[in-house]
Amino acid sequence: MIEAELIEKKTAKDYGFFKFKLSEKLENPDAGQFVMLKALDEPILAKPFSIYSYKNKNLTLFIKRVGRLTGKIFSSPIGEVFYIRGPYGTPYIETISREKKYILIGGGSGIAPLNFFSELYPELVYKKLYGFKGGYIRELFEEEQSTLVIEEESGKTVVDVLVDVYSEEVGILACGPIPMLKNLPHDSYVSLEAVMGCGIGTCKSCAIKTKEGIKMVCKDGPLFRKGEIQWEWI
C-alpha cells in the first residue's frame, strides 16, 4: 500500500476536505475512480473514497463523517499517516457518451467525483448542482457559491432545481444518496456507493442487481445507467 500523509484539512461539522501527500504516484487516476484508504489498525478494512482532486502526488478527498474510519480521519492531526491503494473503478468517461454536455448533480459527499470530472473534462460540463442540507457548508466552498443548492435556505433539493434547468440535449451525471438518485430521469448516469471489501471485484461484497444480472459496483461501476438498476434490491 502507498503511504498517505495528511497535510491539510478543513472541516465544517460533519464534512471536510482532507489533503494527503502520497509516497508514490497513483497510476493515471481518472474521474469517478476511487482509492481504498486504511488506518494503521482499526478498523481493519480499507474503505473506498472517490477522488476529489489529484495533482503531483497530492490527493484531496471530500469526506463525510459517518463511521469509525471517517471519524478517525476527522480527529487526526496533520502529519498522521494512512495507507491507500488504487485507483480502482471504471472512469466515468469510459461509460458516458462524449457527444453530450452534462449537468453534474451531487448530493453531500457525492460531489467529490463530480469535482474531479469537472477538473479533467470542463468541456463536458453544462452546469453543476451541488446539494447540501445546511448552510454551514458554505464555509468550505468560498469559490463555488453559485453551484450550491442549500435545502435549508431555499427549501429546494437539487432534484427540484434540476427541473428548472433540464433540457433534452444535456445528459445527467449524478452521485449522491440513493433517494436522490431514484428521483432522476431514467437515462441519467448515476454513480453508486456500496459497502466494499476488496475494491477490485473479487470478494463480491458490493453487489447490485441490474437488468443483466448481478454486477459489482467496484469493478463494473461505480457508474451505471439509472434505468439499468433494479432499485428494489438495494
Partner: protein, 306 residues
C-alpha cells in the same frame, strides 16, 4: 542459506504453505492484476453450487472490532457456467488450484464432485461444509453425521484429494474431524467464518440485510487456532489452518499448532499484496532461527517447541 518453504501433502507439492482461502480471492482472475498468484502455494476458488446464486441482498458486509462480518451468500455462476467459462481459463493461474463446492443435498454433493473431477486443472476439491450465509442447509459441519454423508458422496465421485472445510464453532471439533476422515477426506480445512452480527443503534436494525453473517479476521484467530491444535493433537491428518491470518506471525502460529498449509482470506481483501509480505516474513523468521525447512515447524507446539 535458502529456506525450503515447500510442503507435500496428499500427493501434491505446494511451493509454499500459503493458500488463498475460498471467497475473498474470487476465481483469481481479477486478483491476478494486483498479486502475482504464481508466487502463492495454492488458490482455493470461490465456492460453486449446482444452481447459479445471486447471493444475498446488500449490505453484505459490515466491519466490527477485530474483524469483518459478511453475508455474501455464495454468489456464484453455478456449476454449468463454471465448467463452461471459468474452467477453461484456470490454466492461466500458475499455481495449484483447489476447487470448492457446496451441495444442499447428498445428490448435489455427488454431482458437484463428479463435475470437479472432470476438470484437469483442479488438483483437489474442498467441501464447503460450513458456510453460515445460506438459508437452510449450509451448515453440514455442525452435524457429524451430515458431514460424513456429504464426504462419502464426494468420495464416491472422485479420486482427487478431498478437503473437508469444517466449522470452528462446534461443540467437539475432534469428533467431527474423525468422522470426516473416516468418511474419506484426505485433509481438513479448519475453519470457516463464525456466525456473528451487528446492530445499527440509529435505526435499531441489523446492519446486514440477512441480519447475521460470518465473522472473519483477527477476532477469530485464537478460536480457530485452538481447534487446529486440538485436531492436530488427536489425528495425524493434513490440516489447512484458516482464520484471521493477517501477518506472518499469525501464519507461524498456525503452522506451530499443526497446520501444514495456511489459508488467507480477509487479509487479501485488506491488501491484495498481503500474502507476499506474509511469505517474506515466514522466510526471514526461519532464516533467523536457522531452520532450513518450513516443514520442521509444523506442529512444533506438540513436540516441546524449539
Amino acid at each position: 542459506m535458502g529456506v525450503d518453504l515447500s510442503v507435500e501433502i496428499f500427493g501434491l507439492t505446494f511451493k509454499n504453505p500459503l493458500v488463498l482461502a475460498s471467497g475473498p480471492a474470487g476465481f483469481g482472475f481479477e486478483l491476478q492484476q494486483y498479486l502475482d498468484i504464481s508466487r502463492i502455494g495454492a488458490i482455493t476458488l470461490k465456492t460453486i453450487t449446482i444452481m447459479p446464486r445471486e447471493g444475498n441482498a446488500p449490505p453484505r458486509l459490515v466491519d466490527t472490532h477485530g474483524g469483518i462480518i459478511n453475508s455474501i451468500g455464495l454468489q456464484n455462476p453455478g456449476i454449468k457456467e463454471f465448467v463452461r467459462t471459468i474452467a477453461p481459463r484456470l490454466k492461466d493461474l500458475k499455481t495449484i488450484k483447489i476447487g470448492s463446492i457446496a451441495g444442499f443435498t447428498i445428490e448435489e454433493w455427488k454431482i458437484l464432485g463428479e463435475e470437479m473431477d472432470k476438470i484437469k486443472e483442479i488438483r483437489a476439491i474442498e467441501l464447503d461444509l460450513s458456510c453460515p450465509n445460506v438459508e437452510g442447509k449450509g451448515m453440514w459441519a455442525k452435524d457429524e453425521e451430515l458431514t460424513q454423508e456429504a464426504i462419502k458422496a464426494v468420495r464416491e465421485s472422485t479420486d482427487k484429494p478431498i478437503i473437508a472445510k469444517l466449522a470452528p464453532d462446534v461443540t467437539d471439533i475432534v469428533k467431527v474431524a474423525k468422522k470426516a476422515i473416516n468418511a474419506g477426506a484426505d485433509a481438513l480445512s479448519i475453519g470457516n467464518t463464525i456466525e456473528a452480527m451487528r446492530i445499527n443503534i440509529e435505526t435499531g436494525l441489523p446492519f446486514l440485510k440477512l441480519k447475521t453473517g460470518g465473522l472473519s479476521g483477527p477476532a477469530i484467530k485464537p478460536i480457530t487456532l485452538a481447534r487446529v491444535f486440538r485436531v492436530a493433537e488427536a489425528l495425524k491428518v493434513p490440516i489447512i489452518g484458516i482464520g484471521g491470518v493477517m501477518n506472518w506471525q499469525d501464519a507461524l502460529e498456525y503452522a506451530m499448532a499443526g497446520a501444514s498449509l495456511i489459508g488467507i482470506g480477509t487479509a487479501i481483501m485488506v491488501d491484495p499484496q498481503a500474502p507476499l509480505e506474509i511469505l517474506h516474513g515466514i522466510e526471514s523468521f526461519l532464516r533467523q532461527k536457522g531452520i532450513e525447512r518450513f516443514k520442521d515447524i509444523i506442529g512444533i507446539a506438540h513436540r516441546g517447541g524449539f
